[in-house]
Symmetry: D2
């Protein structure tokens, strides 16, 4: 079992006041929760930047016009080619023409980036972005 411990932060009261306003605006229940979020966010960014080989997770958001010839087929093909990495996908009908698809990818950061590049680069995809996140288990 792991332990919850406590550490102290010294801070100027005016800076803390501004932080309190921000965390209340963002809906955090307390400072600890907000500070932990900043810490975890920092750790996730660092892991992705340092390109190490630890398993990570990413979500790729794609917006496209489903009338583009063969686009849906090509996206499906890409996803099957990487079926070991692609866990799941969700499809939203934005309007008569536009779809939004979110693809969840698991693997090494370098693999996730490559798969994301291929999906975003598919002819007909209008906008695409990768969110790099964590597989969770280190982010206690």
């Amino acid at each position: 079992m792991t332990q919850t411990i406590r550490f102290g932060v010294s801070i100027d009261e005016r800076l803390l006041k501004q932080f309190d306003e921000l965390i209340s605006k963002k809906g955090y229940v307390n400072r600890s929760e907000a500070v932990r979020d900043l810490i975890r966010n920092n750790l996730v960014n660092e892991k992705w930047e340092s390109n190490d080989d630890e398993e990570a997770v990413g979500t790729v958001t794609l917006v496209y016009d489903h009338h583009t010839r063969e686009l849906a087929d090509k996206l499906t093909e890409h996803q099957h080619e990487y079926h070991k990495n692609i866990i799941s996908s969700m499809h939203i009908h934005l309007d008569a023409h536009h779809c939004l698809e979110v693809v969840v990818v698991r693997g090494k950061p370098s693999e996730i980036k490559r798969i994301s590049d291929e999906l975003i680069g598919t002819k007909g995809v209008k906008h695409g972005k990768l969110v790099s996140t964590t597989a969770g288990k280190d982010m206690v």
Copy 2:
């Protein structure tokens, strides 16, 4: 009906060579597709930065431990509170403890940011990020 037109770009051949290497690495079928992606990405960023009121779409990626007491309930509550904006969500079981949830939100950029802040700030969410994208219809 809209028209596809063509414009010319003058560029140093060495810069073009580097760009060609990058687009081949990223899997684009041709330069036009790659340039259009850069243009659309630039337009989407600009729209989000200028905080205008046009409808946009965002996806919020959340990683959390589903054993955190009442977390799943709270996330569901948040999502129902904003049912007019939240179109859909997808849930992935990363391991025995961790879930990844992707929530698709539609509305004004300011609304999407507020909803995203609330979801990410929920006690127990370990990591969260917003992808700001487009409702598609302007991004031809």
Copy 3:
């Protein structure tokens, strides 16, 4: 005079261990200093995103080839046009052709962005980026 106060953060010991490794790698003297930096960074980002009218400071980094006809003149003109906002600039000779110029701009975030766009958009500038920072006085 303002006061330094202290608040406590509860955190899982494994998460704290990872944070300690990161702050030692980044050279922070202690956790308080690292947490304050995360907090201030968060506040600065928020202020810039919310586009409010409080005075801020930005630095614009430009790389260009000084052989481009009239480029240096145009950059100087731009800077004089905005002399009320542009405090100072620094010029570095990178090699026989390339210059790096850093321009420090003070004003409302919207003014700083407009000036930065104009400088970066000047014909001949090869790469440019804006750092949005703070005038310091609120970031105690």
Copy 4:
């Protein structure tokens, strides 16, 4: 000598219209200039992300209170320790208390990041950010 060549981009006229509005707002003289900027920006980001060993340039923006004991001395020490990488620095007096310092660093991306981390992590620095740019010579 290198050659300027020309390539064509096919694009929907409505997308081009939006792009034209954006580039006029940003002050670009023509589309070629704007597209080249997007391309160079993309290449610079890619080089920094892929962590290769090619020489790059970064500028580190620091805001601090010069009354913090020994801060200025420590920053100067850091800069001398890395005198092979640190080309120059500029110092601005923001108000009676606050200084802004911009430090220009040249080296491998990994070296630049490490030096930037050390400078930003120095006790008393209130806000710091790294701009990753190019030594210019590949960005024709």
